[in-house]
């Protein structure tokens, strides 16, 4: 917090040359970063025969929705996308809740073996997830949750990364806020809800975004715990179009990828706003 340093009243305008140069550079970088997505979008909109034309062209000679139609027909992508969305939202909400509660405990409360417990939580972060695949599968299988939303959501409802991230964040909030809240008679839960969470909004937003994207992109876990199409997720549907030796239908792959990609872009745009607002809110109060 640099509240003590006054902001400069007027900022010197940058010279035009510098302005143009930096924008040109940024535009170039943005195009480079966006290129794969643009190529994907272009391929998805080409008629099936044109995907492999040489030399390749970015703007399709003829626009066609045939690939989208085909992709939606060949795999139950709408159902899969719905499942993915539900699972990703469920996991994200669960992670935010469990991480905030645990992080607040570790940051602000005192209880026996706190340090040891926190180290234990961090320890689970060091375990590669591949190692937990089979044990988690056995747990879910024994609970009778194969082929269900619970099977897809349950193992990811809490995670060391979220707890660690929010704890560090809560620790940075000045003690005075909490003292003031305590003076007003706030319980620890109220301190979390009305003091810590609003001030940690950027951290919450980035945790939400990361969790949502990670869950959205999961492939192996949904593949092993689901077999019935009713419960399967979009990444499995996408994999169906990618055939190793025999040759994939790239039009379908592109259309499917755009369909699967779109919701994550929306999630990013929505959360980005929260992210930016979080920064400004924190800044004004600080």
């Amino acid at each position: 917090m640099n509240a003590s340093q006054p902001l400069p009243q007027t900022r010197k305008r940058r010279p035009w040359g510098e302005w143009i140069l930096s924008y040109a550079g940024l535009t170039l970088l943005a195009v480079l970063v966006l290129m794969p997505v643009l190529v994907l979008l272009s391929a998805s909109l080409k008629p099936p025969g044109d995907v492999f034309e040489y030399p390749p062209r970015l703007i399709p000679r003829e626009f066609s929705l045939e690939n989208y139609q085909g992709a939606l027909e060949k795999a139950p992508l709408t159902r899969y996308l719905f499942n993915t969305l539900l699972v990703a939202l469920g996991v994200t909400l669960g992670q935010l809740l469990t991480s905030a509660l645990a992080a607040f405990g570790f940051a602000r409360l005192n209880f026996p073996a706190k340090r040891a417990l926190f180290l234990g939580v961090l320890g689970t972060y060091m375990v590669p997830w591949e190692l937990t695949l089979i044990p988690n599968y056995l747990t879910i299988s024994n609970l009778g949750l194969l082929d269900s939303y619970w099977g897809l959501v349950l193992p990811f409802l809490a995670g060391a990364f979220g707890i660690f991230l929010l704890r560090q964040n809560f620790l940075q909030i000045p003690e005075e806020y909490f003292d003031a809240a305590k003076m007003d008679g706030a319980t620890p839960l109220q301190q979390l809800r009305f003091v810590a969470m609003p001030l940690a909004r950027p951290a919450l937003a980035s945790l939400a975004l990361l969790t949502f994207l990670n869950t959205w992109n999961q492939y192996l876990w949904p593949l092993i715990v689901t077999s019935a199409p009713t419960w399967r997720t979009a990444q499995i549907g996408l994999r169906f179009f990618l055939v190793d030796q025999e040759g994939s239908n790239y039009g379908f792959v592109a259309a499917g990828a755009i369909l699967v990609l779109a919701p994550t872009l929306i999630a990013f745009i929505v959360l980005e706003r929260a992210f930016v607002r979080g920064i400004s809110v924190g800044g004004v109060k600080g």
Partner: protein, 437 residues
């Protein structure tokens, strides 16, 4: 009173209906497979047709990702004690499956049913037989072949495909074209970094990938791919790539295929199962044909089979096992195999399917579809083209690929790279063998 009576009649009817439904409810059998895209649709059609053909059994097909993903799912399912009834597992899984103790050998199922398995194509029978027994039943069969652009070859003055490594290099040099700026407009060929190709090129010279005659006379204890045949095969590819006759496409199968189908490379090596995709992507822009893989002049041999087999898993009630076996019989029946061949590019697994008039008529129209059968039936019946068995074949393939990458990058000579890889493979074999025995 009256209402009461009707009600009981109604209940009676419902009960009878339920009874019938229970009596006729087909036995459910799960079938995990790794066929995506067009091939996956063909599997679904096959399963649907089977379910419609009888009332006793109902097969449910589940796509389980790539072969390797499928094995991961299987491993979890086996630990959880709920394996599928049938799973399609690739050729390399043979020894590991046979020794897993989790499957019912297909030969046992056939014997109980008095079903004759001698109609399976000889090269497949040789590959999938271990200690005189089938553990799985070959279902989708492929091999490696050469695809060439007839128009491009004609333009360079060639009327037939190259037959030897030396000829191939000569062709590639003449087929490689550059524009005024010196950038390549057409490459002679493209062969990606893929261990399976090296295995096939070794068999095509009569060599072995692992010792003890490809692990067929005794359990393999070391690899043999760093011998002269393997060195020749890898060197052939590495030298052409470094000379600029082939683009370096890495391990990417799609990039390799697209280089060919877009007309950027005039020849390429790929699984026979890619025929449908190549056809679709070329889209009639040029004429292409398929041919056997080349081999160094003066050597003899033949390629082994690729593809996958169906395995039946233990710990299911007898009636379910019976249904699983019944479906496998349906899947390898001549008519089904012909439909499968037509839809996918895998060749039929039984002699009877080759003899069908439909098959012969189809081949007349599509000579490229017949090449794999010609290749595989021309393979000499020795232990080289029988194909290697070792529990760690997937790792061995990885090691070969790492060696190719090192050599292409110029970080090691072909011999050095292969010897280093062989050392890693031998350690893996030793670990596997000590774990099994």
């Amino acid at each position: 009173m009256k209402g009461q009576r009707w009600k009981s009649v109604g209940i009676g009817l419902v009960a009878i209906g339920l009874g019938l439904a229970v009596a006729q409810a087909p036995v459910k059998v799960s079938f995990w497979h790794s066929m995506g895209g067009v091939n996956g649709e063909a599997v679904d059609r096959m399963v649907k047709a089977y379910n419609a053909s009888q009332n006793a059994c109902s097969v449910e097909a589940t796509y389980v990702g790539s072969y390797d993903d499928g094995l991961t799912k299987l491993q979890a399912a086996l630990r959880g004690k709920n394996p599928p009834h049938i799973q399609q597992i690739y050729d390399l899984g043979l020894q590991a499956m046979a020794e897993s103790g989790q499957i019912i050998p297909a030969s046992d199922l056939a014997r109980q049913d008095k079903y004759d398995l001698s109609g399976i194509l000889f090269p497949l029978a040789r590959y999938y037989n271990l200690d005189g027994k089938y553990y799985g039943i070959p279902f989708n069969a492929s091999t490696a072949e050469l695809y060439y652009n007839v128009d491009a070859l004609k333009a360079a003055g060639f009327t037939r495909p190259p037959k030897t490594f030396e000829e191939f290099v000569d062709y590639a040099r003449k087929l490689t074209k550059k524009d005024a700026n010196g950038s390549v407009t057409q490459y002679g060929a493209t062969i990606r970094v893929y261990g399976w190709f090296i295995e096939q090129l070794i068999y095509n010279q009569g060599g072995y990938v692992v010792n003890n005659d490809n692990g067929r006379t005794k359990r393999a204890t070391a690899v043999a791919y760093n011998g002269p045949e393997g060195v020749r095969a890898v060197k052939w590819i590495v030298d052409m790539t470094r000379e600029g006759l082939m683009p370096n496409v890495g391990r990417d199968g799609a990039a390799q295929r697209q280089a060919f189908t877009s007309g950027k490379a005039a020849m390429f090596v790929e699984s026979t199962a890619a025929l449908g995709a190549v056809q679709r992507e070329v889209g009639g822009r040029f004429q292409f044909k398929t041919a056997p893989l080349p081999r160094p002049a003066g050597t003899k041999g033949g390629t082994a089979i690729g593809g996958a087999a169906l395995y039946v898993f233990k710990d299911h009630p007898d009636n379910e096992i019976k249904c699983a076996w019944d479906f496998i019989k349906y899947a390898i029946s001549p008519k089904t195999q012909f439909e499968w061949h037509k839809a996918t590019g895998y060749y039929p697994v039984s002699r009877a399917a080759l003899e069908l008039p439909e098959t012969k008529a189809y081949w007349k129209e599509n000579p490229n579809a017949k090449t794999p059968v010609d290749i595989i039936l021309a393979s000499p019946p020795n232990k080289s083209s029988q194909g290697a068995v070792a529990g760690v074949m997937p790792q061995i393939r990885q090691h070969i690929e790492e060696a190719m990458e090192l050599a292409i990058a110029g970080k090691a000579s072909v011999e050095e790279a292969l010897n280093q890889a062989a050392q890693k493979s031998n350690e893996a074999i030793a670990r596997y063998n000590s774990a099994v025995r």
